[in-house]
Symmetry: C2
Subunit: 355 residues, 2 copies
């Protein structure tokens, strides 16, 4: 029921996703009569869709804490809560929503719980860049992140990139304000020490700066949720300002006006391509279940792409992989932190305790 | 001697600045023979320029800590150190450099010292936006900032904007990940409580997000140096990626190629306009003296613009104004923090102690 256009986008998107994944079955959580009417118009998906009726739905501008309280208080929850329940109770492999991001995260944490060993969830988005795409996390699930949490984000982003970008050894980087080892915050420098451990089997390439986000130098860029949100929004703002200024300068002379007219199609394609918002929504990582957040303004193609992502993640057993990694990573960095504590002569390494 | 092109840019820029400010006198710190040769070619500035010979100069890629150590060890310092000494000893009103930013900041802190009551310096830059320009700080003088430091940045940015943007009551905002009062980090929320105090006489407009940086909603945008650097570099990266993608899409069809050809001048003007780097360098605020950092890649016009900024700041007594403000602001927020401590029932306000 969520997103700017609700089931009018979701149901046609289900049809599209079904064409690509004929073995997938769909549960639609929301207003039964509204959903049934939309499904009835699409006979092809009639037999692969079931509907779970929800009395209410979370408003796009509702406070996450309030939405969560209401969900826990009522016997019959909102469409969002019921969709998550399908995953929690093993009746669905993944939940896709275009609704209120904060509410979805708050409910998902309570309903699905965290994967053992992962302290905090992260929201991962896929950003376009010069060479292709990169996974960027955390986009705002948590304001701050300590070294251990950054390492967890890195391993989750690594697994997600392996599935989404289809690369065996994604290059993982930490976002920082310089590329030298001594730059930035303590938490980032500590995380770098852990990620440099070859036993981890993560291709850690070091620090990258804001300018590197779009160069394609890394497949996974890791940062805390505050910084991730600022970077995303600044990129959005820059892209909008660019388009705005482009329109102005192109109107300035008759020559540039004619030029703009001729190049219009190309210019339109451009904004679409570079706006990180068009890299449809994000996935929630670290939870005991797959949750994909489609962009609220997504159209049918966009929402269908979010379903594709969910199908891929489920088919590749992302959760299982993260569970295995989490166990392995914590053993390795636990030992590393311990040996650093034992060996106080090792300089900077000695500071690398888990915070 | 600093910057990508050294005195070959600085000396002609001095001539330009002199044309605009005939009462200004210039001290050039650096290699005497090289500077004298350049000045000799410009008879108009011969009588307004004096040269202070420096044996060495700081390399653009030198580590700030190393540059500082060397400056303190030698009897005759680098050109950068000598330029700062002119300000410290009252022989100059301001120092302008295109050199190594980190080294300039490290030396300026030691040489000029902080204004009483200001804990940390900040680097302020001027960013273009849809409506004009805005002051953005801290661009990276300090990685982190607590509530008190953010308030100090706000008051310094406020005074700088009054001079640079020539507005009586600049609208001051805190950069955050949402506009609601409860969003973001503790330090930012605490700073918001202080800045909302009407006694401060600062037109505080609340939180802004990354998307707002380019809309012109605020005249002064305040953040910590880590976030400021990430935002700046992300905007740079987005602008570069935009230009890169623009070139590609415009080459795709013969129609768009022709269009691009006709609109070329306009497109070239565009990048210049939106790239925050072209908003030439930054000013160091909070020090007991005026230091303007021109962009390392600045051309003659850019370096002359940096001199203009320095002249304006000196003529408007920026340092004196910040001193007065600092005293007043700390009295007000000191009382506010005290009364918040006394009144533990006042909820969130009670948390607003100086951190």
């Amino acid at each position: 029921m969520g997103g700017d256009r609700g089931p009018e986008v979701v149901v046609p998107a289900v049809e599209r996703a079904y064409e690509r994944h004929p073995s997938v079955r769909f549960v639609l959580a929301g207003n039964e009569s509204r959903l049934a009417a939309l499904v009835a118009k699409r006979p092809r998906i009639k037999d692969v869709v079931s509907i779970r009726h929800a009395e209410t739905n979370v408003a796009m501008d509702e406070k996450p804490s309030q939405a969560l309280r209401q969900a826990l208080r009522r016997r019959r929850g909102s469409s969002m809560w019921l969709a998550l329940e399908e995953v929690r109770d093993g009746r669905a492999h993944a939940c896709v929503s275009a609704g209120n991001t904060g509410a979805l995260m708050a409910m998902a944490k309570v309903s699905l719980k965290m994967i053992e060993g992962i302290e905090r969830p992260a929201i991962a988005a896929v950003w376009p860049n010069r060479r292709g795409e990169a996974v960027f996390l955390d986009m705002g699930a948590n304001v701050e992140a300590n070294a251990r949490q950054l390492v967890e984000y890195a391993l989750m982003g690594h697994e997600y990139a392996r599935i989404y970008l289809n690369v065996e050894n994604p290059r993982v980087a930490l976002l920082n304000i310089g590329t030298e080892a001594l730059k930035g915050k303590d938490s980032i420098r500590e995380a770098a020490v852990y990620l440099s451990n070859p036993e981890l089997n993560i291709e850690y390439i070091g620090f990258v700066e804001g300018t590197d986000i779009f160069t394609g130098i890394a497949d996974v860029i890791v940062t805390d949720g505050f910084t991730g949100n600022i970077a995303l929004k600044t990129a959005e703002g820059t892209a909008s300002a660019f388009v705005y200024a482009l329109k102005i300068v192109l109107k300035r002379t008759w020559l540039s006006r004619l030029g703009a007219l001729l190049a219009m199609g190309a210019l339109r394609a451009l904004k679409e391509r570079l706006d990180p918002r068009s890299a449809n929504g994000g996935v929630f990582l670290g939870l005991n279940g797959i949750v994909v957040k489609s962009h609220g303004g997504a159209d049918v193609l966009g929402f269908a792409a979010a379903i594709d992502v969910a199908v891929d993640m489920a088919a590749s057993d992302l959760i299982g992989r993260i569970k295995v990694d989490s166990k392995r990573v914590h053993e390795i960095i636990g030992n590393q932190a311990k040996s650093a504590e034992d060996d106080t002569d090792s300089g900077f390494e000695a500071q690398a305790k888990l915070s």
